[in-house]
Amino acid sequence: MTALAIHQLEKSFGGLRVTCGVDLAVEPGERRLIIGPNGAGKTTLFNLVTGELRPDRGAVALFGAELTRLPARARAHLGLSRTYQIITLFPKDTLLRNVMLSLLGREKRRWNPLLRLDAQRDLLERAEAALARVGLSAKARRPLAETSYGERRRVEIAMALAQNPRVLLLDEPFAGLSVDERKDVQKLLAGIPRDVTIVMIEHDMDVALDFAEKISVMHFGEVIVEGTRAEVVADKRVKEIYLGE
């Protein structure tokens, strides 16, 4: 069963066709990279998959479950997690609280107005474990404002992983990071077990190409080339797009 199946997805804004009949099939455990020049429609594709945008036509399925009719919040419960291009965490809270919110999203407890959140030991422990996985245990109780950009990236990934996703969508996880920070995130991603399927959008070629097993190249809302790193790098059309820029 395909982990993520996108079939003939289309989306227009007014007269502008942003997504033009995209077909994509990601296998379980795969590391897929989506690249393409600015405006190719990569983030829009993610937004269509997570449900933040409704497609005009087409279908999305997660491990066989049809997502197209489901609201965004329901898709999270089916095992879909994502990170964003622009980091949008909860600035007034500690790192721990940020991750706990992420955990809470999948718990029935989130509706409970009578419990004490800070007394939920199990959530606390899972949050601490999630932060340890990304190497931020030391700063767990510090407010988010006291962290660097790179650390916030890692918190975001921790939050996404804390939900035990089956499919993880990463939108430009390396954007804005220093060389060292990139290495940290690279290591982190490499350490994610295979029961999580990862689809990544990225611009930074060197780092991303290393990561990916299969690459889909998008241009003007379509997937124009798909293949291994070697195949894609050698492809004439890809060269045109990137050299022509």
């Binding site: 919110l101 809470l104 989130r110 509706w111 409970n112 107005p113 419990l115 959140l117």
Partner: protein
């Protein structure tokens, strides 16, 4: 025992001891008024501070509760029945209010709640058969829980104090609960909350209901306090005043609304003895707070205090001079 805990206990003790250190029944009833408005402000703060939704129409719900009590009593109902009915009607009204207002967030929410509040005022003013219009409805007597005569100012104050402390406790539990954290999350990052699996609209709706509950409680206490309800209590100015209370005290905190309520009520009742145009003063204070201390008095006071201390340390001569 941290300094804050000590201060809070002292404040609690002061509240309990009000009838003894406050000079006279008039001021005891001002204290009652402060607590009633504090409950109202807590209700509005649930939305402003924790949900990130500013409502300029809550006086409509407040008044709905007040009018229901007054009308029920005038119709021959018993006290307990009137209170229950008021809670039910106000909660039903809140549900409608929320369903309409939550069609938008941000500025749209402000505008819709303003309009809805005005509809409530308009009904109170013009549906004379139901509300007696501009003449208002009188409340003959206050309840007598456990035989306690609430007509006595001090007794009424203690009853209000008990309800206030319960409301504060309820708000505290709410804010520190998983639901409270979800609500705060929807305030800060609604998009991400949705992606994390939260039902943002429904969370906001329930927050509105809790806000409506506190508002209704305040409205019920209010009509027993003044023993009278009339359309001006539902006007835009009333909704604006409670927003003033929340913002000036500090939205997103529990003590902020209480401090803000005290500020506004004191200006209204006490300053009005010396200054005739106290609404101007209120407006000016509000503008000053929005400009210079937008987080409000409760969070902002430590900042100002620290700045004052720093200045004093840098200018020891001036401090000495002042001390002499």
């Amino acid at each position: 025992m941290t300094a804050i805990r000590v201060a809070l206990l002292a404040a609690l003790a002061a509240l309990i001891a009000v009838p003894w250190w406050v000079p006279g029944d008039y001021y005891v009833s001002v204290a009652s008024q402060i607590l009633i408005y504090a409950i109202f402000a807590l209700g509005v703060d649930v939305l402003i501070g924790y949900a990130g939704l500013v409502s300029l129409g809550h006086a409509g719900l407040f008044g709905l509760a007040s009018y229901t009590v007054a009308a029920a009593l005038a119709g021959g109902s018993g006290q307990f029945g009137a209170i229950l009915l008021a809670l039910a009607v106000a909660l039903a009204g809140t549900a409608v209010f929320a369903a309409l207002s939550l069609r938008a967030t941000g500025i749209g929410f402000i505008m819709i709640t303003l309009a809805l509040g005005q509809i409530m005022w308009g009904l109170a003013y013009r549906w004379v058969d139901l509300t007696n219009g501009d003449n208002g409805i009188n409340v003959a007597s206050r309840p007598m829980p456990f035989g306690l005569d609430l007509e006595v100012a001090t007794n009424f104050y203690f009853a209000v104090l008990v309800v206030f402390l319960l409301a504060l406790l309820a708000a505290w539990i709410f804010v520190h609960s998983p639901f409270g954290a979800s609500l705060a999350g929807t305030r800060d990052q609604p998009r991400r909350m949705t992606a994390l699996g939260f039902h943002v609209w429904l969370i906001r709706f329930f927050a509105c209901m809790f806000s409506g509950l506190l508002t209704a409680v305040a409205g019920i206490l209010f009509v027993y306090y003044t023993k009278f309800i009339s359309p001006p209590s539902l006007q835009l100015t009333s909704s604006a005043e409670v927003v003033l209370m929340v913002i000036s005290g500090g939205s997103g905190t529990l003590l902020g609304p209480v401090v803000g309520a005290a500020l506004v009520v004191i200006v209204k009742n006490v300053a009005s003895a010396y200054i005739e145009r106290w609404n101007m003063l209120l407006g000016a204070i509000f503008v000053a707070i929005v400009l210079f201390m937008p987080e409000g008095l409760v969070p902002g006071a430590p900042r100002i205090w620290r700045a004052v201390l720093r200045w004093l340390r840098a200018n020891p001569a001036a401090a000495k001079g002042a001390a002499e």
